[in-house]
């Protein structure tokens, strides 16, 4: 309810064909990469990489209200540390969650 009453219909229908593709882009690419690692190096490689990513995600605690963390560790693991893309230029006008909500979300409360 943070954004007021949402119109579910407008969220499902009539969206730009590219939007869904771009929203899932990183995940799709990551899945594809992990699949390739699995085929070339065996199951251990994607497991190790997923684990490393998970560790970095869980140990970075910089509240969004203070400023979005740079997340250089995550960028390196995602192989994004040498890239600039539109997402880095246009960071979006989403209001950052307040600290309590962010922590609740993070801890799954």
């Amino acid at each position: 309810m943070r954004d007021g009453q949402l119109n579910i219909e407008s969220q499902l229908n009539g969206r730009h064909p590219l939007q869904a593709r771009l929203e899932n882009w990183e995940e799709t690419q990551m899945n594809m990469r992990m699949q390739n690692y699995k085929r070339t190096f065996g199951m251990g490689e994607p497991i190790r990489r997923t684990m490393e990513m998970q560790i970095v995600k869980e140990t970075t605690l910089m509240p969004a209200v203070v400023g979005t963390p740079a997340n250089i560790h995550l960028d390196i693991l995602k192989n994004k540390d040498l890239d600039v893309d539109w997402e880095d230029v246009y960071t979006g006008d989403d209001q950052p969650l307040d600290f309590h909500s962010e922590l609740e979300k993070r801890m799954g409360i």
């Binding site: 890239d83 893309d85 989403d94």
Partner: protein, 261 residues
């Protein structure tokens, strides 16, 4: 959401369904060519920017620098070619800084095609990428959906047929730098005269192995505007002065004096 915004898509679709005319903001009429020669490569472009049937800019720049020795000619949506080449220029610089090597044309090509493929042709950039790198002179083209070509001579844009006719007729395997410049500018001029979407002047960029890239802005100007037969300027004092009013103002200023810490 970060990235390109889709927030107006539904609103625009709704408005156009209600009968509001959707503005068309494309400028696709262009002639661009590229041609390899012994020890280098040359690219050329016309300088007309159109918006529908209106000439928006008579002398725009369609040659973009990606790296000091890699240049790119762009056809398609003007803003898209500009932004996508700037983004790639930044990425190439980061990449070569990290690798400690000179950037390569194939790297540019791969970056651009992967980016354009991701956006499924909605970024309307049709590019001819050319440059010299440690592997020699390179010439390649990219379409908006991400497909790429390699060739000794290439033409893109609405005037590509006119330009390609000239290239096909006059190109030969071993060209000197001067011959290649001549051929490329002839091809562009063919687009300028025979394609309505292209016009004005010829821009050229020459990239030679072991030398700085040279941009010849307005290398040929076959469309210089005629001098007006009469002067339409009014001489000073033609309009009668009816009244003069002078106001005086008191200027008040405040100065902040910085004390010592």
């Amino acid at each position: 959401m970060p990235g390109l915004s889709f927030s107006n898509y539904q609103r625009n679709a709704h408005l156009s369904a209600k009968g509001v005319k959707v503005p068309t903001a494309t400028s696709t009429g262009t002639t661009i060519v590229g041609c390899k020669f012994d020890g280098g490569v040359v690219i050329a472009a016309d300088t007309r920017a159109t918006s529908g049937d209106i000439v928006a800019d008579k002398n725009c720049e369609k040659l973009h620098r990606i790296a000091p020795h890699i240049w790119c000619a762009g056809a398609g949506t003007a803003a898209d070619t500009e932004m996508v080449t700037q983004l790639t220029a930044s990425n190439i610089e980061l990449h070569s800084l990290s690798a400690g090597r000179q950037p390569r044309v194939v790297t540019c090509l791969t970056m651009l095609k992967q980016h354009l493929f991701k956006y499924q042709g909605h970024i309307g950039a049709y590019l001819i990428v050319a440059g010299v790198d440690p592997t020699g002179p390179q010439l390649m083209s990219i379409h908006a959906h991400g497909s790429t070509d390699v060739g000794y001579y290439l033409a893109l844009g609405s005037g590509s047929m006119a330009a390609m006719a000239v290239l096909e007729a006059n190109w030969k395997q071993e060209l000197t730098k001067e011959e290649a410049i001549q051929l490329a500018s002839d091809a562009i001029e063919s687009g300028i005269w025979n394609d309505l979407g292209s016009g004005s002047n010829v821009d050229i960029c020459v990239m030679e192995q072991g030398k700085d890239a040279v941009l010849h802005r307005n290398y040929r100007t076959p469309n210089v505007r005629e001098q007006k037969q009469q002067s339409y300027k009014f001489p000073r004092g033609v309009t009668a002065v009816l009244d003069v009013k002078v106001r005086t103002f008191d200027v008040v200023s405040t100065e902040v004096v910085m004390g010592e810490a």
